[in-house]
Assembly symmetry: C2
Homo-oligomer: 193 residues x 2
DNA sequence: TTCGCGCTAGAAAAGCCTGTCTGTTTGTTC
DNA sequence: GAACAAACAGACAGGCTTTTCTAGCGCGAA
């Protein structure tokens, strides 16, 4: 608990929101587990919604770094890196299932489910974050010499796989998704399986 | 309001849960909009969770009928019907966006997002419903003479497309998904685009 | 050492949540 | 027409929600 209150609030929110959802997580619980006073929260954030936005922002930062690690900082050919992504997702699933917390899918799409109304700040933030992550895929697709609009199909497959892994509690979904992506890539250019 | 109270409760729940989410919808609002007394609700359902389960059940029934209409009751060849599915999803998106209610994605996966803990009755019900819907796709895949395990990939693509259409508010996602499915099918057997 | 700032604890406001209970009215069936 | 079951309205309990407020503690800087 040596870090600063604002930081503890964001980290604790990240954990609780992704585990129990947004509406189901009360502010009192966040404060208790972060060891922060109520006034301090409202000094840093105008409302609970703003705290949610901050937690989503942090989530996007973490996931972006992970995704860039997989897609950019690798010596394998770009199309192979895209296939690797689904093996890494599968490993991520296994790791978070084994720990104290069970795999809870993507916090971004979970937020989209709870805040479905377009125009709501949280919904709009989710859309922006997803678009941002999508552009990383787009870069890798371009690097592979493939048409850029291919990345939309990859995003659908990636989030679809994360979603169904959450529902089914089965990492084999990622292998199915990998086969799908393999078919998508093979359609345009020959790719080693 | 001539239908029976139990029916009105389920229909109103279906509408409110899918529009505003489960935790965000209080039973008082359901009761007011259904025109039903509180005691009547608790005569028919032991708790709010049971009402949620009933609403999900109804949702599955409706979506199953719709899906069977697209995949079974059609004179087009089975692989073509699978491709048609994504055109019909796109039309469904457009229809529900134009009405009073905006498109809110799949109520099943929205429920999975709010009730992420495995073992929770709602989570388990969602998993069972998704499996049931998946078997309809499996039948059509078999009918087309394709390997049955292909249906898992189609399910990922379908739910992924619904999810991203909800986030992006853009029906073009379904065309992307259709291209993906086309690639999946083409990988195994020649299919007219 | 003293000032000021960020933090703490704790209380309180105002409202919504689920679930229970009482009494009345309506509708159906013998 | 009497009897019975179901649905009605409305109040109430107990708890949780977000947000605001007061009062004091502790630490770093001047």
């Amino acid at each position: 608990m040596q870090s600063k209150p604002r930081e503890r609030l964001i980290e604790t929110s990240l954990r609780l929101f992704s585990t129990h959802g947004f509406h189901a997580t009360g502010i009192d619980r966040i404060l208790a587990e972060a060891g922060v006073a109520k006034m301090t929260l409202y000094r840093h954030f105008r409302s609970k919604d703003e705290l949610i936005l901050a937690a989503l922002d942090r989530y996007e930062t973490i996931f972006r770094a992970w995704l860039e690690g997989v897609l950019r900082h690798s010596d394998r050919p770009p199309d192979q890196r895209i296939l690797d992504l689904f093996d890494k997702l599968s490993a991520w699933f296994g790791a978070s299932t084994l720990r104290e917390l069970t795999f809870q899918g993507s916090m971004l799409t979970n937020a989209a489910a709870e805040f479905g109304q377009p125009g709501h700040p949280v919904h709009d933030a989710v859309a922006a974050h997803v678009r941002g992550l999508s552009s990383i895929l787009e870069d890798t697709v371009s690097e592979a010499g493939l048409p850029a609009n291919l990345s939309n199909r990859l995003v659908v497959t990636m989030f679809g796989a994360v979603l169904l892994a959450q529902v089914y509690r089965d990492p084999r979904v990622f292998q199915d998704a990998r086969l799908t992506v393999s078919a998508i890539l093979r359609e345009t250019a020959p790719v080693p399986a």
